[in-house]
Point group: C2
Amino acid sequence: MASKSAPGLEGVTVGETQITHVGGDEGTLRFRGYNATELSAQVSYEEAAHLLLRGELPSPSELQELKSSWYPLRPLPPELVQLVGRIPRGTLPMEALRSGLSLMGVGMRPFPPREEDLLPFIARAPTWLAMWYRASRDLPPIPPDTTLGHVSSYLYMLEGRLPDPDLARALEEYFVLLSDHGMNASTFAARVVLSTQSDPSSAMTAAVGALKGPLHGGAPSLVLDMLDAVGTPENAELWVASALERRERLMGFGHRIYKVEDPRAVELKQIARRFATPERFRLAEAVERAGLEALRKVRPHQPLYINVEFYAGVVLEAVGLPRELFSATFGIARTAGWAAHLLEQSRNNRIIRPEADYTGPAPRPVPLRSVAPPAAAVPRAA
Amino acid sequence: MASKSAPGLEGVTVGETQITHVGGDEGTLRFRGYNATELSAQVSYEEAAHLLLRGELPSPSELQELKSSWYPLRPLPPELVQLVGRIPRGTLPMEALRSGLSLMGVGMRPFPPREEDLLPFIARAPTWLAMWYRASRDLPPIPPDTTLGHVSSYLYMLEGRLPDPDLARALEEYFVLLSDHGMNASTFAARVVLSTQSDPSSAMTAAVGALKGPLHGGAPSLVLDMLDAVGTPENAELWVASALERRERLMGFGHRIYKVEDPRAVELKQIARRFATPERFRLAEAVERAGLEALRKVRPHQPLYINVEFYAGVVLEAVGLPRELFSATFGIARTAGWAAHLLEQSRNNRIIRPEADYTGPAPRPVPLRSVAPPAAAVPRAA
C-alpha cells in the first residue's frame, strides 16, 4: 500500500466514533448529539457518564442503578490505602494520579473490558487523588462518603466538610463540560494502548500521562499565575504588551481545532462570572480583552479566542480547589470520556500502529569489537 | 484539509525516524544501519543502548563513561524500596512494571527530556521488577550489584547468585535483538504521550501498557504452554491438526510486517539450539514444522513463518527465567529503544493527534430533567 505521510497525524481520520462531535468551525461540542453546554447546565456528572458510556441519558431508575453500582466502589481497597501515604515526596499531582490509576489495575481481566471494569477507575480516581493530596500535606485522610454525588464527594474528601451545594454544582458543570472532547491526544493514547488488547488501567494510565503535557491539559493553573502577575485590570494592557515584547506566551489563548470561540470557554466564563469574586472576574475579563486585542493586532487574519483553560482556572479557584490540583482535576473529569472511548474501541478493535519513514544511516557492517566477548558463541557444555 | 481515512493507521506514515529500519519484505532489521542479528552476536546491551540513543557504537572510553553514569543508577531510591514490597497481591508482572515506571517519575523536569532523564528508567526497570518479583513470592530482596553488566545484574537480582556467563550472554543477545523495532504500538504510544510535551515516565508507562496487550508483546509464555500441551515431537502433527480443528490460534506464528522470515526468529532459534535442552529444542522444532505445514495448507498463498515469540520463550526458559516474567523481560529489553524514540520525538516534536469521523446521533435537544436541580443557576450570595 502506498503510504500517506501525515506528521502529527493532522488531517488523518483514525476511525469512526459515535461519542462526541467537536464542531471546530462552528464552535459546537456535542456528546451523543446533545449540546455539551446545555447538558452541563442540566445534568449531573453521573448522568453525563451514563450518556457517554451507554449512549443515552438515564431514566430515573437507570440513574439509581448506576449510582448503586458506582458509589460503593468509591473507597480504595485496603492495599491502596496503605500505598497512598507512601508515594514519594516531590511527586506531582498528575504523577500521583497516573501511578494511582496504574496501581488500581490489579490482575486485570482479559480484553475486552466491560462497563463494570471501567467504572472503578471513574469512581476511585478522585478518592486516590484526594487521599494522596492530604497525605502529601500531612493531613489526616478523609474516608469517602458513599452517599454523596460524585463531584460533591471529591470536594468532601479534599476538605473534610460538606461542600457548599452551589459551588459543588459549579464544579459539576465544569466536570460535565470537560468529560469528553473527541479524539484528543490523551483519548487517542488510551485507545492506542487498549488496541493491543491491553486493559483499562494501562489505557487510563497512558491517558493521564498524555494529559500531563502542557500542549494538552497541563496548564490551567498558569492562567491564574498570569492573572496574579498582572495584578489589576488597569495593568492588563501594559502587562500583555510587555509579555509579548519578551516573546512570552500568553496563557489560555488559541486552540488547534476551534476556529471560532470554544463553547466550553463561553460557558466557563458564565460560571466564573457567577462564582468568582467580582475583583477576580474583572481582572480576568480585562486580561482576556487586552490579550485578544494585542494578539489580533499581531496576526489580524487568524481567528483567535480564549481557550477552555482561560476561565477554567478562575472557576476551579472559585470553588476552592488548590491550584496545584487543577490539571489532575481535569483528568478526573475526563475519566468518563476515556472510559466511553475504551468501550467503543474494544467493540470494533484493530491495533493502532502507523509507520515511520526511515531516514537514518545506510546499511553498514558491524565493526570488529574487542569489548564484548561473544561468550554465547561457545557451545554450552550440556 | 481533506481528511484521509486510515483505520488502525495502516499505511500511514507518522513521521521520520533515524533509529531502526524494519525491512518487512526482505526480512531485515537494522539499528542505525547495523544488522540487528550481527549486533546481537557481538555487542553488549549497553553498547546497543549507546547506539540507539546516540546513533553510534561507543568507543571503549565512551562505553566506560556510559557505564559509570548508568550502573550507579541501578539501586532504587529508598522510597521506592519501601513501596515495592507493598504492591497489591495479585498484581501481574506487567502491571507491576507499569506501576514501577510511573512511581519512578517523581517531579519530572519539563520537556524536552535529555539522555540523563531517560537513563534512570533503563537502569532501574530491572531492579524494580526483580525486587517486586521476589517480594511477591516472599523472598528476601537482593540489592543490586553496581559492578555487573546490565543483563547479568538482572539475573543476579532475580536469583541471588552470579549467573552462568554463557546463559547471561544468551539473554543479552535476546535483549539486544529485542531492544527496538521501529514504530510498533508501544513505541508509538510512548511518542504520542511525549508529544504533548509530557515526560519520560509518562511515556514509558504508556509503552508498557501497550506492550501488555497480547496483540503486541503479551504472549511469549503461551508458546511454552503450547509446547507443554503437545508434550512430544511425535505428537506435534496430531496436536496441531486438532487445535486448528477446534479453531484455536497457534501461538508464535505470523507477523503483520514481515512477509518473509523474521530475522529475530531465525537468530533466537540458533540461540535456542545452543542453550535449550535437546528435548525441548526438538519438541519446539517439531511444533514449528507441523504448525507451518498445517497453516500453509490452509492458506497456501499467504507467506507464513514463525514470529519472534516462538523461540523467545524457549530461550528465556533456557536461561532460567520464570515463565510469568517473559513479557516484563521483553519490556525491560525494549526500554533502550523507547528511550531512543523519546529523544528523537523530543527533538522535532509536534503533538500527535488524529481525527475521528463522527457517526453518532444527530443534534438533539436536551430533554427537561427532573433529577439534577441546576443549583448553579441560582446566583451566589456574594
